[in-house]
């Protein structure tokens, strides 16, 4: 890293500034590239194949540039503000959602030394920051001054807050088992785990935390407002819920935000449950991981995102009260049970 920066340092630019700009740029790439990949692979192609059709095929080879075409299309649309809308809140809402996602990207580890920031409270920071997007959605729903948007915003508030709790509790099981909140330490612990004394190939936490994993997957499906939990954007009832009055680039930002968040949450799930950037049989401190680590993480992220979109295509949506009942009466007790059992087993063994 320092050899690359040497010419810049020689000019006199502060090391801190270089690092920060690099982090922001790479962070944006890490945000947008998975979003684009997920949109193409899963939304355009996998969903189409599951419906026995081909999806976009004209823009680029096999439709791979369709997202670029869509970006171009949305950029040149008129930016409409409803007459009664609260201008500043309406304009700011998509940026709030995106900022929350961008902050989430910063805690993802790409390798033992390839990280943006190495926070000791990594996963705690991630969960806290992901709640900011709820504010963005509420801002969008309220400021749109439209009945459909208001209904969508209020449904979203209820749903997202309800499913924060199972998410946090499911992650807590992993934290107890890994004895750390630091994301890199969690991966390292999965690599070093010894099953019955054999430590050669470690153990991803999905094996012991299967209940936590299931609750995590359900909770992120709800946090992303994907079917079966897409009441806030229930297309056939309230047009697009809190997004109804958005057009042009702001709609594009929400859209990208949705898929970027899907990618980031899948990546967090991969780090917590599947071992992140680590591959079995290779020593986790190996420098090789700094190069292939991000690719391994991306692969595991795509695997988890596959499940998210598979559920999206197959299931109808829950009604709002059924959704809440599922969160409070089923997921939270199960997550508490998971923590209870994990805690006992941790102390006993």
């Amino acid at each position: 890293m320092s050899s690359v920066l040497a010419p810049l340092l020689a000019v006199g630019i502060d090391d801190w500034w270089v690092q920060t700009v690099l982090r922001v740029v790479v962070g944006l790439v890490a945000l947008l590239l998975p979003a684009g990949t997920l949109v193409y692979l899963f939304l355009f192609k996998m969903m189409s194949f599951m419906q026995s059709r081909l999806g976009p095929m004209e823009a680029g080879p096999y439709g791979s540039l369709q997202l670029l075409a869509e970006v171009g299309k949305w950029l040149q649309k008129e930016d409409i503000f409803p007459a009664k809308a609260d201008k500043y809140v309406f304009a700011l809402a998509p940026f709030v959602v995106l900022i929350s996602t961008f902050l989430l990207v910063l805690v993802l580890p790409g390798g033992p030394d390839a990280y943006f920031v190495n926070l000791d409270v990594g996963i705690y920071f991630a969960l806290a920051v992901s709640s900011i997007s709820v504010i963005g959605i509420l801002m969008a729903g309220w400021a749109s001054a439209s009945k459909y948007a208001l209904m969508g915003g209020i449904r979203a508030a209820g749903q997202l807050i309800a499913y924060e709790l199972p998410l946090v509790l499911a992650v807590l099981g992993v934290v107890i088992q890994a004895e750390s909140l630091n994301m890199n330490t969690i991966v390292a612990r999965q690599a070093e785990w010894e099953i019955f004394g054999i430590g050669a190939f470690g153990m991803p936490f999905i094996v012991t935390q299967f209940l936590g994993f299931a609750i995590f997957m359900v909770a992120i499906q709800a946090e992303l407002t994907q079917p079966p939990f897409d009441m806030p954007v229930a297309e056939s009832e309230i047009v697009t819920g809190y997004l109804t009055e958005y057009s042009g680039i702001r709609f594009l930002l929400f859209f990208i935000g949705e898929f970027a968040t899907a990618g980031v949450f899948s990546a967090i799930g991969a780090v917590l449950f599947l071992g992140g950037w680590w591959v079995p049989f290779i020593d986790p401190t190996n420098n090789l991981f700094n190069v292939i680590g991000p690719l391994v993480l991306a692969g595991k992220m795509i695997l988890l995102a596959f499940f998210i979109f598979w559920f999206r295509v197959t299931f109808p949506r829950f009604r709002e009260d059924q959704l809440q009942r599922l969160a409070w009466k089923v997921l939270v007790p199960l997550a508490l049970l998971n923590i209870f059992v994990t805690g006992i087993l941790k102390v006993v063994f």
């Binding site: 026995s52 009945k147 209904m151 295509v313 197959t314 829950f318 709002e320």
Partner: protein, 409 residues
């Protein structure tokens, strides 16, 4: 105990006296609860609900239906459908069209099961002319009628999924419906508007190889029904959304004039194909009428799924037993229907559709009254939508299944 009054507030000054309560804490809680409930009731009466206009342009209404719902939070207080945004003046148009021209026009009333619209009109005209179609024509008429039922209801099966949020079944429905439409096109020349029924028979005979192809298509449609049963009907979320939602008791259903699968899903054993078989070949094959006792949205979906399967069996049997012979009875070149009145209703895919023709012996009918199924099916919506949640409005409307062309004509 009297205290001196505070000049600022007008209330007592000094420390307040402590009064021992003789009421138990439980009774206190109950009393407080009652007070709060009364306060809430008073507040509820005074607040305005939100009026949600699911306007003519809306993804959920299949076409230009306007539903004005007064909401209290997410619950409906009253709902009123406003129809007529697609009125095309069919009954007036028929007064200046000859009988073959009217046959072409009425294809467009229920555009998904379009052959089914022609049949009651032709049967009513045949009744006035006292002509009976030859057996082969009856067979082919019935087969095409059931094919239109299959294509119409297959779309419903997918469409109800998409109203509830499952995006896949509708694509499967469109994919498999294409096979049925290809068969209709191979016989009549038109996928959506066949214009094939004629007074005294049908227009042309079947092309070679059609019977075998149609049997293969029926196998595919049965596979489609099985696929949807697993994908959608067996899904717990679908059942949680549909069971117990929009229950219509049989008495209410009959009062409001519901017909077709909606009536059968409320437990009423009523099918005009079996009871009022005029001019069709339903008594030549072995088939069953499906009813369901529940009367909720799930029942309506279930009945229509079984009906689709039953329709494939009817088509198979009729294809096997097809008689040979002419397809047109002896009718004059220029058709002038003798004076009189006739009403014939058939069991269309959407319900009971009937044509009341008043003829004065001219080339054109004097007056045609079209009784369409969806118009009567929609009349129950204010009753059934009272007190349901907003997502349930969509479920109920989707399960009642109307087509705007059929409501508005």
């Amino acid at each position: 105990m009297t205290d001196t009054l505070d000049p600022r507030t007008g209330g007592p000054t000094g420390p307040r006296p402590i009064i021992e309560s003789t009421v138990s804490s439980q009774e206190q809680m109950r009393y407080i609860g009652q007070q709060a409930a009364d306060a809430r009731l008073n507040v509820e009466i005074e607040t305005e609900g939100m009026t949600l206009n699911m306007g003519p342009q809306h993804p959920a209404t299949h076409g230009t239906l306007r539903l004005v719902a007064k909401l209290d939070g997410e619950q409906v207080v009253s709902a009123e459908p406003i129809m007529g945004y697609m009125h095309r003046g069919y009954e007036k148009l028929t007064e200046v069209r000859t009988y073959p021209q009217v046959t072409t026009l009425v294809n467009r009333i229920d555009w998904l099961g379009s052959f089914a619209n022609e049949v009651p009109f032709i049967l009513a005209a045949e009744q006035l002319m006292e002509i009976e179609a030859p057996p082969r024509a009856k067979w082919i008429r019935t087969i095409l009628f059931e094919l239109s039922r299959i294509s119409n209801i297959a779309l419903f099966l997918g469409d109800m999924g998409v109203q509830l949020g499952a995006v896949t079944p509708v694509f499967l429905a469109f994919r498999d419906r294409e096979f049925v439409l290809n068969q209709v096109e191979a016989v009549t020349g038109g996928r959506f508007h066949p214009n094939f029924d004629r007074i005294g028979g049908i227009k042309d005979d079947l092309p070679a190889g059609w019977i075998e192809e149609t049997k293969a298509v029926m196998v595919k449609m049965r596979a489609f029904c099985d696929e949807l049963e697993t994908l959608l009907m067996g899904n717990e979320i679908f059942q949680a959304r549909c069971r117990g939602i929009g229950v219509i008791p049989p008495a209410v259903a009959q009062e409001y004039g519901l017909s077709g699968a909606n009536l059968r899903a409320s437990g009423v054993d009523w099918d005009m194909r079996r009871d009022n078989n005029y001019g069709m070949a339903y008594d030549e094959c072995d088939w069953k009428v499906w009813t369901h006792p529940d009367g909720d949205s799930y029942a309506r979906y279930w009945v229509r799924l079984q009906e689709t399967r039953e329709a494939t069996h009817i088509v198979d049997q009729l294809l096997d037993s097809m008689p040979s012979g002419p397809i047109m009875a002896k009718v004059p070149r220029i058709i002038k229907v003798p004076a009189g009145e006739a009403y014939v209703a058939t069991e269309n895919p959407l319900g009971a559709m009937g044509y009341y023709i008043v003829s004065q012996g001219e080339l054109t009918p004097f007056r045609v009254k079209i009784r369409s199924a969806s118009f009567s099916n929609m009349s129950v919506s204010p009753w059934v939508l009272k007190g349901v949640f907003v997502p349930d409005i969509i479920t109920i409307l989707a399960s009642l299944y109307f087509i705007l062309g059929d409501i508005d004509r």
